[in-house]
């Protein structure tokens, strides 16, 4: 896992960042060499869809929804992890990229059991919102319908792997912000799972501080608060920028 983005510039006496010129979707722009293509696009109100990315956490590059094309390179790259170079010509919304993004979403929907109608996060889910944003009307792949146990062993929270998209925000926020590293990943590819401690019931975890940060950053209904019913789980993410800002201020 990479170190936190906040630490990139925290050393003292670093020279001011280099400013580069580049082009995104036909617009001539300038941006700092130490900011990702995604950050520069956002500053210029160019929207690139993202899922695993969350401001305040390290980059992961897992979901691939933020793929962009760079002139002269055949392979698209994730905007959330790619830094600009002088004169780069970037395109964010070609037909090919939109097809890829829709396919990624379709694979996510078909891989687990995202039954939106009966999900605690219905109406407040980033996966569901992306389907609307990318105009996904149906899923062309066969649904896999894996059989996955819900873990209700924790006193306050529920883990429902049926809704997990493996964004690893829970893993990152727990390790990088809470410092507990309760969450991790087990298995490979399609059989990857996020687990607590040594793949044990969440309620039996010795390292979990029950802070709930993982629940709040989880984009779907995979992690939720106990006692919430369909559509009732509304996540509160503002704690993360606030907390990080407070910590930076204290350091200065």
């Amino acid at each position: 896992m990479n170190h936190s983005p906040a630490s990139r510039n925290s050393q003292e006496n670093t020279p001011p960042p280099r400013i580069l010129t580049l082009q995104i979707d036909g617009q001539d722009l300038s941006g700092r060499a130490d900011e990702t293509i995604l950050e520069i696009a956002r500053q210029n109100k160019i929207h690139i869809p993202t899922l695993c990315r969350l401001d305040g956490l390290s980059g992961h590059g897992g979901c691939r929804l933020c793929l962009v094309e760079i002139s002269g390179q055949n392979r698209p790259v994730p905007a959330c992890l790619t830094y600009p170079q002088e004169g780069m010509v970037i395109s964010t919304a070609s037909q090919r990229l939109q097809d890829y993004r829709r396919k990624i979403l379709e694979l996510l929907f078909s891989e687990r059991n995202h039954v939106c109608a009966v999900c605690v996060s219905n109406g407040h889910c980033e996966l569901q919102e992306l389907a609307v944003e990318l105009g996904l009307s149906h899923v062309r792949y066969e649904y896999l319908h894996p059989r996955l146990e819900v873990d209700g062993s924790h006193a306050r929270f529920i883990r429902d792997p049926n809704r997990c998209v493996l964004c690893l925000r829970c893993v990152r926020v727990c390790a990088e912000v809470e410092g507990a590293h309760t969450w991790d990943v087990m298995g490979r590819g399609i059989s990857s799972r996020v687990i607590t401690d040594l793949n044990q019931a969440w309620g039996s975890s010795q390292s979990c501080t029950a802070c709930g940060k993982c629940v709040q950053v989880c984009p779907t209904g995979a992690l939720s608060e106990k006692g919430t019913s369909v559509a009732e789980m509304i996540k509160h993410r503002h704690f993360l920028p606030q907390l990080l800002a407070m910590r930076t201020n204290r350091r200065e």
Binding site: F109, N113, H114, V115, C116, A117, V118, C119, N122, G123, Q128, A131, V132, G135, S137, H138, V139, R140, E142, Y143, H145, P146, R147, L148
Partner: protein, 177 residues
């Protein structure tokens, strides 16, 4: 002007999408003037008619009868609309797909039953191993997700189709709406 021949039906669903259709309320009168409802749970006809212009199909394909009906509907309709999440994604009915069919039947008809029931064999269509959405079997022309799709979205769909346009439904509803 010829009235558009409309058919509606439900397969493995809960009839909620039809409730939402009825929730169009008084604007149904407006629609009724332009359509002929040739087949529906809301009318008396027993057999699915020929030369249907628009078929709205609610529900997933869960049993052999659903599949037979769907194939007939496809053959005899110009436009087939998957109406609602069960038709579009297989939704809640497909939650049984994580289990073996025998397990499901045993659980429902014996394990949790209050009296000694037997597995139904006669007069009910056999369940298929997996519940799947309509487009797993036939070509679907339009998808309107939602559980149920808002009546506003169904009204928009029908008025656009009646005006001879293929509507863009992407902003009108969503999975789970």
């Amino acid at each position: 002007m010829n009235k558009a021949r409309i058919a509606t039906t439900w397969l493995d669903g809960c009839s909620g999408c039809h409730m939402s259709l009825l929730d169009i309320d008084e604007r149904l009168v407006e629609l009724a003037e332009q359509i002929e409802l040739v087949y529906s749970p809301l009318v008396d006809t027993l057999d699915f008619p020929e030369a249907v212009d628009i078929a709205l199909v609610e529900g997933a394909v869960g049993n052999e009868d659903d599949l037979k009906k769907l194939q007939l509907i496809r053959k005899q309709s110009r436009l087939l609309v998957a109406l609602g999440d069960c038709a579009v994604t297989a939704n809640v009915p497909a939650m049984r797909n994580a289990f073996k069919l025998e397990e499901v039947l045993r659980h429902v008809y014996t394990a949790t039953a209050s009296s000694q029931l037997q597995l139904p064999k006669e007069e009910v269509p056999p369940l298929r191993d997996r519940v799947r959405p309509l487009h797993a079997y036939v070509e679907v022309d339009l998808f309107l997700p939602g559980c149920p799709p808002p009546s506003e979205a169904i009204f928009f769909l029908l008025s656009e189709l009646l005006a001879g346009r293929i509507p863009d439904l992407s902003a009108k509803s969503r999975f789970g709406a």
